[in-house]
Symmetry: C2
Subunit: 122 residues, 2 copies
């Protein structure tokens, strides 16, 4: 259990962004029961994992709304087994599509490099 600054260091995500994610419902911490002098929020390792996942998913073009769906399927959130599976399977398909697009881009760029090397226009 860690406070936000430590979480920020571990996940390498700014505190402001973490707070934004929490407001957006992607992650959530807990206040320590019995403590009344403050309302500091504590986060466990599950949150760190979620943040790492969010970072990867964002890097490959998923929106926070899409990411949230996966996280909800992942970590319970009163959904049926079937609907969780649906979300995850759709996401797997989208991932394969993206991998295909990336491979197509690689080919195009390789061809482009070849043309430049050999002084061919276009």
């Amino acid at each position: 259990m860690k406070l936000i600054s430590q979480l920020s260091r571990e996940a390498n995500i700014p505190i402001g962004t973490i707070r934004f994610y929490e407001k957006s419902g992607l992650i959530s911490g807990t206040t320590k029961q019995g403590v009344t002098s403050n309302n500091y929020v504590y986060y466990d390792d599950e949150v760190t994992e979620k943040l790492r996942f969010i970072k990867m998913a964002k890097a490959v073009g998923f929106t926070l709304a899409e990411i949230r769906q996966v996280i909800d399927a992942w970590y319970q959130k009163e959904l049926t087994k079937a609907s969780k599976m649906e979300v995850l399977n759709l996401k797997l398909e989208q991932i394969d599509t993206k991998i295909g697009e990336l491979k197509a881009m690689k080919k195009q760029i390789a061809r482009c490099k070849y043309n430049i090397e050999n002084g061919l226009s276009q």
Copy 2:
């Protein structure tokens, strides 16, 4: 050589978005020389290719600024051979990174599916 509505149909991108891309310097059409009655803009197949590339690149999380760099390296734009190569090689690296992230996500989701199937929490 086609007008914007045909280009929009071919690339499956809204006219407004194409105009936005043109203003942003990602693509450019040409006015027909000799024609003075209008300022209709014509686009060739190179533009269609560029739009398809933009679409793929956006789908995997590249920004328009990044995409523009690649397009500029691709289609001349007074850059040295060396600087074009630098841009393209960097992009290839980023593509490989993204592929790696997508594969990591696949593994995580597969594990998650397994856990749900077997009624294991987390």
